[in-house]
Symmetry: C2
Subunit: 137 residues, 2 copies
């Protein structure tokens, strides 16, 4: 059986924060928004409904955990939760904290403005902040 | 306790197909894409993680049911599943069957091209087709 491998484009666009029971938890390299990507570490998934029945409640719990963490840290006006995958077919779930003064609001973030890469120090600080907060949810 | 009411903008943009255990199942009035919207019939929800713990597995099952139905009917290249709510804060989940020849592909559908309203006969036929298919999932 093939081992799970993160899609190369997802790997290039993100930094790994940590691994949960089901998902790789990634930070999107775009400082415009607090933006997590959850990737179930399972081979061959494309769509949400491809998840095994036993994985669905874990997926849901991990979406809720990511959402509550972003809410606590960033006080967003709205959380966006989405499995799109038009560009990268490997199943991945975006969890994005939106603010009314972010550069895409109220439009969806995808394609709205060019990504603003974190510098090394800012990325490390954001990852540390998220790890500390995840421990509370 | 207030009764659940569908957001007026959601009501204006959709037609009700049926009611499931948790959600109102709506057809988006845009013939560009097979596009369902699931609205949990609960008062005061904004984000996915606002769902009560007991409702989460029902929500997940209803997303899977909607997805499998669209997959069986339309053989999409990808299902898009998303809770955004930047325009309408009431929690609602989009389930959209994407084709590589649809007018937005591979971009997200929101704002890509103007909605193409169904005429009455086409809308009635689409609703009948979906009801028949839902019965099998």
């Amino acid at each position: 059986m093939a081992a799970f491998e993160l899609d190369p484009k997802l790997a290039a666009d993100t930094a790994e924060i940590e691994r949960w029971d089901l998902c790789c938890v990634l930070l999107m390299n775009d400082a415009n928004y607090p933006w997590l990507i959850l990737v179930p570490a399972r081979v061959g998934l494309r769509d949400f409904h491809d998840l095994a029945a036993a994985d669905l409640p874990v997926m849901t719990a991990e979406i809720v955990r990511a959402s509550k963490t972003l809410e606590a840290l960033f006080k967003p006006i709205k959380l966006n939760v989405a499995a799109l995958g038009n560009q990268v077919p490997q199943l991945h779930i975006h969890v994005i904290a939106r603010r009314s003064d972010d550069p895409a609001w109220p439009k969806p973030v995808w394609g709205a403005v060019p990504a603003e890469a974190y510098d090394d120090a800012a990325r490390a600080a954001r990852i540390a902040q998220l790890r500390e907060a995840f421990a509370r949810f």
